[in-house]
Symmetry: C2
Subunit: 337 residues, 2 copies
């Protein structure tokens, strides 16, 4: 693999001329450019990025840390991020840390050593002290979907609370008063916000919030849901704060032969594939996932280019309630309960 110097020797010009031709940094005479191009195309040449970076420059690389890629939300978001980064001339160093903070901490340090220009992170947990090293080195960070608490970084989230309120109010508009909120054990920011929205919407209408916390084990829904459905007063609607929860619950309701939306109306978070395939189709609060990714890159690049250390920004994207059948909208003769 030939170096700049090799090309210089062959084409009979100085190294800097070659460098200038390769990078288009400054004017070079027609003929030297010709000579250099000829030499390059003859023996081939690939600039060595490592050498370039030694001059103190940062790599044209963005770091991306997500909890995992198997989850469509993260995957679609990562896809959009990669795409946007690429279009801006950056490569993407990606880590799926398996929801594991130890891995997150270690990999993030490795990214720093590789001199990434900036970092986009969907934090796996509340623990995030290790990101301070980035700020010390003036490497900008943006957190997506969940904030990095107590960190002076840009943040991009969706309006989870408002989305939950919308969903619950919609169920209420169908006459439901006993609405169950299905939430998860692991306390992540988004879940809490949605739960808060649920509570707010219920209390505003002076309704009693009823929350079922689902453990992380697969059979967890199966254990707890049936009993709850038979309790008094009878639950007539369910709001699930995450798609995984919704899927499990729907499987269980299906097994119990519960009619949706007649016996139980249902609204879930996230517009998962199956939502339009099931009978009935599922009404969901949809997040602008790809937009989240693109926006994250824009915000980050802005910081990188300007080098500004102004007060961190918090950008909030809107969700949209996709009304389908499971909320009861498909049913013509809906009697109020």
């Amino acid at each position: 693999m030939p170096t700049l110097a090799d090309i210089a020797k062959i084409s009979g010009v100085g190294v800097m001329s070659v460098s200038r031709v390769v990078n288009g940094t400054r004017k070079v005479s027609r003929e030297t450019e010709e000579k250099v191009r000829k030499a390059i195309s003859r023996i081939g040449y690939e600039p060595n990025e490592a050498a370039r970076m030694l001059k103190g420059h940062r790599a044209r690389v963005l770091g991306l840390v997500v909890p995992e890629l198997a989850d469509p939300f993260f995957a679609i978001c990562a896809n959009a991020i990669q795409e946007a980064a690429r279009e801006a001339g950056y490569m993407t160093l990606m880590v799926a840390c398996g929801h594991n903070v130890a891995v997150e901490r270690q990999q993030v340090e490795l990214m720093l050593r590789r001199k990434i220009a900036g970092l986009i992170v969907i934090p796996s947990s509340r623990e995030n002290d290790f990101y301070s090293t980035f700020l010390e080195q003036k490497v900008p960070i943006i957190s997506v979907d969940r904030p990095l608490e107590n960190m002076e970084t840009d943040t991009l989230v969706v309006d989870n609370r408002e989305a939950a309120i919308q969903a619950v109010e919609h169920l209420q508009s169908h006459g439901h008063r006993n609405i169950l909120c299905l939430t998860e054990e692991e306390i992540v920011f988004t879940t809490l916000e949605r739960l808060a929205g649920y509570n707010e919407a219920m209390l505003t209408q002076k309704l009693q919030p009823r929350v079922l916390v689902i453990g992380s084990t697969a059979g967890s829904v199966r254990e707890s849901l049936p009993a709850l459905l038979n309790s008094t007063p009878t639950i007539t609607a369910i709001f699930a704060v995450a798609d995984v929860l919704a899927l499990e619950a729907l499987r269980e309701l299906r097994r119990l032969k519960v009619q949706i939306p007649e016996q139980i109306a249902f609204i879930a978070f996230d517009d998962f594939d199956a939502a339009t395939l099931m009978t009935p189709t599922i009404t969901v609060a949809a997040q602008p996932v790809a937009e989240l990714g693109h926006t994250a890159v824009s915000l980050l690049l802005e910081r990188i280019k300007s080098g500004s250390t102004d007060a961190p920004r918090r950008v909030v994207l809107k969700t949209s309630l996709l009304i389908r059948e499971s909320c009861g909208c498909g049913i013509l003769a809906k009697t109020s309960k």
Copy 2:
């Protein structure tokens, strides 16, 4: 950001001693090690990977090229790859090229400049001449899911043909003789193999293959499927060679109020989420997606470590037919047709 030399100065030892402590390369006396560690923890130190690489070493980085991440198959595969790479001490430079060869070509060259140690690729097209540069520079490649044609690289695929045969034979065992194969316009390797398997299974039983090619536009199924279902002889079963096709077809069948499996039995490729959520649940030919990812990394690392240029290997993983309801297995009184 302090350098090795800084640490050396502070701790009052030579740079090489510092280097040796940091890398654990060779024996260092207790006390120098002590001094160095102290200095490091006092002012902090992060090795500069770029400088390390200048000595001709390749980066501990694997390249990963996939068509996109929004598709769960690629996402789960990428997830497994990242995980396995990380566990082996490699970072992952990832590109989702949007099924676009031009992007693939360009990004792959950038990876080369970054001195990646090896490349894992799910090719977006048949065009792949640009990968030859890697082989020239002795950077190993492994192609996953689809082979790199005419390239001397390791390949990891699943047995698509056999999977299709299994699926079609299963439908035949239910008495179906008029089985429609739903396939896509874009001619990718996997699709062709599955189609070939379908044809083989049909011809073996002296049955007439019937293939419907679905265009890439969303409404394509809606246009062509209804007419076909009314044609003679009546189709009684469908085999869809990809999950996207299956989803579209299932949506359409649902709209047409076609009973599955009574009127039409159905088997699809890929174990998509919705398969267990729909009514009926969908029988599928499932690929070992995560295993595909892990195996790819193992094979690649083997090459990287050994540096061997032996004949390329082709590893074939088995699929499994997950029998659920849509094939007709749930129906007790199944009359042969």
